[in-house]
């Protein structure tokens, strides 16, 4: 069966450091991978999308990589700030029409001042 794993339920890092979150998948061939941020009690908010033929995507302090051989995406937040504390969800997209996204459980990131 399809499986999406995000490396840990919770990750604590010091302010100013780079946070690295992992998303691994099995039995799936996504054409695209998306990352979302979710604050407690709120709906997810889109951050970045990366296509299977893209190795890396950047947006301000965010960077996403996508390795279809390893079946893995890495999500980096550089110069992390306490305001970056949230749950980060990865989502897989088959890309064939409006197929629904399949989400991982998320990783709860806490940036400590």
């Amino acid at each position: 069966s399809q499986k999406i794993e995000q490396n840990s339920e919770a990750l604590n890092i010091q302010e100013g450091k780079t946070a690295t979150l992992t998303c691994n998948y099995t039995n799936y061939s996504p054409a695209y991978l998306q990352w979302y941020r979710q604050d407690p009690g709120r709906g997810p908010v889109f951050l970045l999308l990366i296509r299977e033929n893209e190795k890396e995507k950047r947006k301000e302090r965010l960077k996403v990589t996508f390795d279809t051989t390893l079946k893995q995406s890495l999500f980096h937040i550089t110069a992390s700030q306490p305001a970056d504390s949230a749950t980060y969800l990865c989502a897989l997209d088959k890309g064939s029409g409006n197929t629904p996204l399949v989400f991982g459980k998320g990783t709860r990131l806490s940036v400590i001042a």
Binding site: Q34, G43, P44, N98, P100
Partner: protein, 117 residues
């Protein structure tokens, strides 16, 4: 900025009662999704609409859940009767048109938090 509207934000009910959630997607978004998110888990798809038609309801527990989008705009998700295990956040999301080529981020509403006692 356009948003996906959901109501109610919070709902507390007793088991065996009926509950209903409403969603108004961003104008022009033909694709609408209902996801359920249990605390500590990721969102799981319940149903997908394209305009007024159901595209995928394979994960919807049809013995107690129903969803409709009669005019292809706003949508209602109903649970009858509610069970303890239905306690979760119910999220509505919409997707812009022309999203079949990997440009389709989802726009989520703030969700409806259901507690079944």
């Amino acid at each position: 900025e356009a948003e996906v509207a959901q109501s109610p934000r919070y709902k507390i009910t007793e088991k065996s009662q009926a509950v209903a959630f409403w969603c108004d997607p961003i104008s022009g978004h033909a694709t609408l999704y209902w996801y359920r998110q249990i605390l500590g888990q990721g969102p799981e798809l319940l149903v997908q609409f394209q305009d007024e038609s159901v595209v995928d309801d394979s994960q919807l527990p049809k013995d107690r859940f129903s969803a409709e989008r009669l005019k292809g705009v706003d949508s209602t998700l109903k649970i009858q009767p509610a069970e303890l295990g239905d306690s979760a956040m119910y999220l509505c999301a919409s997707r812009p048109p022309g999203s079949g080529i990997g440009t389709g981020e989802l726009f989520f509403g703030e969700g409806s938090r259901l507690t079944v006692l």
